[in-house]
């Protein structure tokens, strides 16, 4: 597993385009700000859609509220781009950070959950009009979506508190959670 980590680490380190901007006075703070704005847009619009599926604001037709989903996607893209810029600048702070592993896991879960939504229940759910209740599988997916995105925020916040230290002479475990000597 840590062979993959090394490969990711080297790939990220080769992305030199991000560094000059990110190490300038306001580069990192600017990206942090944009990352949080994207996060809010994502949680606000996707979260609202999930809450509607769960039964809140039931008079809103699903199709009408779905028009806000592209805004959530753009929030996600903005957060993804700034996120990659953090990774490219300080790869070892993320690749060997257990909180980051969980964050990626939850992001993958949220992605998979979204794919499941569009491949299965969306076909029927999109025709739900004013006052219609969503079917149980759709509600499960909506609840999972809220849980997973909140989890992504939690582990994103935990990054700072689980910064990896140098491994020293410790033998590496299957996933390295300290920065190995190269």
């Amino acid at each position: 597993m840590h062979a993959l980590q090394f490969w990711i680490y080297d790939t990220l380190r080769a992305m030199k385009w991000a560094k000059p901007f990110m190490t300038s006075r306001w580069g990192w703070p600017f990206c942090e700000t944009v990352h949080f704005l994207g996060l809010s847009l994502l949680v606000g619009t996707i979260g609202m859609f999930d809450l509607r599926l769960l039964g809140m604001g039931r008079r809103i037709p699903i199709r009408a509220l779905h028009k806000l989903v592209p805004w959530g996607v753009s929030g996600y893209v903005v957060a993804l781009i700034t996120g990659i810029m953090f990774l490219a600048t300080e790869p070892d702070q993320y690749v060997f950070n257990p909180a980051f592993h969980w964050k990626i896991l939850f992001m993958a879960g949220a992605g998979l959950n979204m794919a499941t939504f569009y491949l299965t229940v969306f076909r029927r759910v999109r025709f739900l009009g004013s006052g219609d209740d969503a079917e149980v599988p759709a509600k499960v997916i909506a609840a999972l979506s809220l849980f997973l995105w909140i989890g992504v925020i939690v582990f994103g916040r935990m990054l700072t508190f689980y910064r990896p230290a140098d491994c020293g002479s410790e033998p590496l475990s299957s996933i390295s959670t300290c920065i190995p000597l190269r």
């Binding site: 990192w28 703070p29 942090e32 700000t33 949080f36 704005l37 996060l39 809010s40 847009l41 994502l42 949680v43 606000g44 619009t45 979260g47 609202m48 809450l51 809140m56 604001g57 039931r58 008079r59 809103i60 037709p61 199709r63 009408a64 509220l65 779905h66 028009k67 806000l68 805004w71 004013s130 909140i150 925020i153 939690v154 994103g156 916040r157 935990m158 700072t160 508190f161």
Partner: protein
């Protein structure tokens, strides 16, 4: 430094939040602050976008139903924000950016109150295009929440004194 900061930072609550290695201290409070931000600013933004004409077929009045969740997010942040302030009073209160953040929040709250009256107080508002005044309120709300998040994020990079204690 002001003696009040010195006193506050020496209280057991302030010390615990700042110095405890427990994940329930500073990390959990900061995390709650971020989740609350997502729901308060995010749901406000979603309502603003609807007022501005995106998702036009969504009955505006019904968006009212999401406001309680928005307010839960807001109060989560008021409480966690006060706890963070108790942990680091010098850091926040000696930084002009912190007052800018409070200013944006105050403005956003006034705007939301106006919106609750003018947009959600009019039963006929539902599907007709939002009036000019409502659109201005929506734009102001987006500006205020963007300002709040920006100022809040910059707090980590603009403070001049971390604590008054040595």
């Amino acid at each position: 430094m002001h003696p009040f900061f010195v006193w506050l930072e020496a209280t057991s609550l302030s010390t615990w939040i700042r110095e405890s290695t427990s994940v329930l201290a500073f990390p959990a409070i900061l995390t709650l602050h971020t989740i609350g931000m997502g729901f308060a600013a995010g749901l406000s933004a979603a309502v603003d976008l609807r007022i501005l004409g995106f998702a036009p077929a969504a009955p505006l009045l019904e968006l009212r139903r999401f406001l309680p969740v928005m307010w839960i997010g807001f109060w989560m942040n008021a409480v966690s924000g006060v706890l963070l302030l108790i942990a680091y009073p010098t850091k926040a209160l000696t930084n002009p950016v912190f007052y800018l953040k409070l200013f944006f929040i105050a403005l956003a709250l006034v705007g939301t109150r106006f919106m609750e009256r003018s947009v959600f107080g009019d039963a006929d508002r539902d599907l007709k295009p939002a009036a000019r005044k409502c659109r201005m309120l929506a734009i102001a709300s987006l500006v205020c929440w963007t300002g709040t998040i920006t100022a809040g994020r910059l707090l980590a990079y603009t403070y001049s004194h971390l604590t008054s204690l040595q």
